[in-house]
């Protein structure tokens, strides 16, 4: 298992995440793992107590986790949102835009390639779960 790459300063949660089903059953956990088939909206009533949400990408081609991430951020979740599994360097920038701020890839990412990928896009066309200003907003004078 590769190390965890984090883009936040708080202390990481030091215990394992539970499944969505068991979280909804016992509900004193503060770390949960969302699988592609899970409905992230079920977590929304409990986001105040959550400190870590792992979103699993068993295969990079299954993009459901991108929606799960955005849905949680749109609901106001501000704890750690960690992409785990088949996370490739070429997808990290998209994941950042969907609100992920931590990564635990199955295969280690080359740090130089990662930095290149994160710095790649000076502009973006659409609004998402990050704070970046889309091109349409810059065009029309919003600060």
């Amino acid at each position: 298992m590769a190390e965890i790459i984090r883009f936040r300063d708080d202390e990481p949660v030091d215990h394992p995440a539970v499944t969505v089903d068991s979280f909804l059953d016992q509900s004193n956990a503060n770390a949960v793992r969302v699988e592609p088939g899970d409905d992230a909206r079920e977590l929304i009533p409990h986001i105040g107590q959550l400190q870590l949400v792992e979103v699993n990408f068993p295969a990079f081609g299954d993009g459901r986790g991108y929606s799960s991430a955005r849905i949680l951020r749109e609901a106001g979740y501000d704890g750690e949102l960690r992409a785990v599994g088949d996370v490739l360097v070429d997808h990290v920038a998209y994941m950042r835009r969907c609100g992920f701020d931590a990564f635990e890839p199955d295969a280690a990412l080359n740090p130089d390639d990662l930095q290149t990928a994160l710095d790649r896009w000076p502009e973006i066309y659409q609004s998402a779960a990050d704070a970046r200003q889309p091109i349409w907003s810059k065009r029309h004078g919003a600060a």
Binding site: G63, R64, E74, S127
Partner: protein, 543 residues
């Protein structure tokens, strides 16, 4: 037409650098082919039977002469002097080397073009009416709305690994020239009772192995909610579209399995939520884009032509279409010469079309999904001069919408998915009808050929469709009748057992003869078929 500003240019330039880096890592072995495949696919690069194929996006089919010249130069520099115009209003090159692909993309970026999302499981290039901005019957020019959605969908972070590819078409006439209802999302610009412009959404259409006609899920989305509504449609699909079976992964299956009503309910719920998320560009952005599509300075002029040359008169009758300005027409350059490869153009022909666009059509060209090229705004007074030059270079075929104007996919001659060849069948059919002289009598007859059930040649939507299949290692061709991609959208029915390569050419002639025998005054092939049904055709074919 749309012009990039510095932001748009930065986006395509960045994409070239990203792809150059990805290609380098692949060539150095840092990326496996499995990892690289979705990356190259998102840039339109397919590994085909003989070489890489690169698909270049032509957003909503619109090009200027500089871009067409650049496409011709690319054909010479990176391919074998040809390009192939496709049913997605794009152009494909069939002989590309991986190591040269980044340079090719850099050449495209210099003329405000790209290959972004022309394949892969993402939102593809957005298509539109090829007569947009010229058609006499349109409500407004649909292209600004397509451009707004092009920008929204480019590098969309949430939708970069959809269950399957996703195609959007935008039109603004009741006459559908873009097969709108056979798209994942078809959007029609409409006016409501208050006279406001908005959009009707049709979701879940498609061809492929399970053809479906999209139901209307909302008859009016205000223009300042277009992006939010599209995003809601996509999010429901991204979350719940099937991923267990790639043949059931298109949105049409989701809409079909949930039912249009339940899918719509989920979209509306997501839409209500997204309206509060601040994702919609201001209406000023749409207005900015619209100014790029302002009408050119049309002038007055002759409204009829000298018909003393019968060849010219025939071309005018067949290949020119009414324009919103009476002194102009839209002129179709047929890429279907008798015996030719549908949609192919040589570099020299592309250069010529570019020159003619500059001279006679306010510097604009369009790619049609029927694999022809349009000069959208030609003065009627200039038609003879235009036709003379087209005809001299083999581009004067007078066969728009006739049985010789065949759509065909690349088929087994190029494509790694195909079961059968399409191109030779198209060639033989056009030769047969050119020789027997029945083309004129048959009138409008749309014939479409696919070399496998993926239906890139739109066979389901042909008045006559042909589907190539593999039958015990031998190419076999099924005949379909009664499809239409237009506003009277319908799916063709298979007549019965398939035919050999020569047999299918005979079968098409047999079906055409049934029409000529049975037709009532003013009926097209499709009308006659709909009136008399499939039985008389079956009897003639198999009886």
């Amino acid at each position: 037409m749309y012009q990039y500003d510095s932001y748009d240019q930065a986006m395509v330039d960045t994409r070239v650098e990203e792809f150059r880096d990805q290609t380098r890592r692949r060539l150095e072995g840092k990326l496996t082919e499995a990892q690289f495949t979705p990356m190259r696919l998102k840039n339109g690069l397919y590994l085909q039977l003989h070489a890489y194929m690169l698909r270049v996006a032509v957003p909503y089919g619109t090009l200027n002469s500089r871009q067409m010249h650049a496409l011709a130069d690319i054909a010479d520099k990176y391919d074998r002097g040809y390009g192939h115009f496709t049913t997605r209003q794009n152009i494909q090159y069939n002989w590309i080397k991986l190591e040269e692909a980044p340079d090719l993309l850099a050449d495209l970026a210099k003329v405000e073009m790209h290959a972004i999302q022309t394949s892969g499981n993402c939102i593809r290039n957005i298509s539109s009416d090829h007569f947009a901005g010229a058609a006499a019957d349109e409500l407004v020019d649909p292209r600004p709305y397509a451009e707004l959605l092009r920008q929204w969908s480019s590098f969309h972070p949430e939708f970069n690994a959809l269950p399957r590819k996703f195609k959007i078409a935008v039109i603004a006439s009741d006459t559908d020239r873009a097969a709108m209802r056979l798209h994942d999302i078809g959007i029609q610009i409409v006016k409501n009772d208050a006279g406001e412009l908005g959009t009707a959404f049709y979701v879940g259409g498609g061809m492929g192995r399970t053809p479906m006609i999209a139901p209307c899920i909302r008859d009016f989305v205000p223009l300042d909610q277009l992006v939010s509504y599209s995003e809601a449609c996509l999010r429901v699909y991204n979350r719940y579209g099937r991923r267990d079976n790639k043949y059931k992964a298109r949105i049409k299956i989701l809409v079909h399995e949930l039912g249009a009503e339940e899918y719509t309910r989920q979209v509306e719920e997501e839409f209500a939520h997204l309206l509060d998320q601040g994702i919609e560009p201001p209406i000023a952005e749409l207005e900015r884009i619209r100014t790029c599509f302002a009408d050119p300075a049309f002038g007055d002029g002759a409204r009829s032509v000298d018909r003393s040359d019968p060849d010219f008169a025939l071309w005018v009758d067949r290949n020119t279409v009414r324009h919103k300005h009476d002194a102009y027409v839209s002129a179709v350059i047929s890429l279907k010469p008798v015996g030719g490869i549908p949609g192919d153009a040589s570099a020299a022909q592309m250069h010529l079309m570019a020159e003619l666009a500059k001279e006679y059509s306010f510097d604009e060209l369009r790619v049609m999904h029927t694999q022809n090229i349009v000069l959208p705004h030609v003065k009627i007074a200039d038609l003879h001069a235009l036709w003379t030059r087209l005809d001299a270079d083999g581009l004067g075929a007078p066969n728009l919408d006739t049985i010789e104007d065949i759509i065909a996919c690349p088929g087994l001659d190029y494509c790694s998915l195909a079961n059968a060849r399409s191109i030779p069948v198209a060639q033989k059919i056009s030769e047969r009808f050119a020789a027997n002289g029945k083309t004129e009598a048959l009138g409008e007859l749309k014939l479409k050929i696919s070399g496998c059930i993926n239906a890139c040649g739109h066979h389901h939507a042909g008045h006559i469709g042909i589907l190539g299949v593999d039958r015990k290692g031998i190419e076999n061709y099924q005949l379909l009748l009664g499809g239409s991609e237009a506003e009277d959208c319908s799916l063709g029915k298979i007549t019965g057992p398939g035919f050999s390569e020569d047999g299918i050419v005979d079968a098409v002639e047999t079906a055409a003869d049934v029409y000529l025998r049975e037709r009532a005054k003013g009926e097209r092939f499709l009308d006659t078929y709909r009136r008399i049904g499939i039985e008389p055709f079956k009897e003639a074919l198999y009886g």
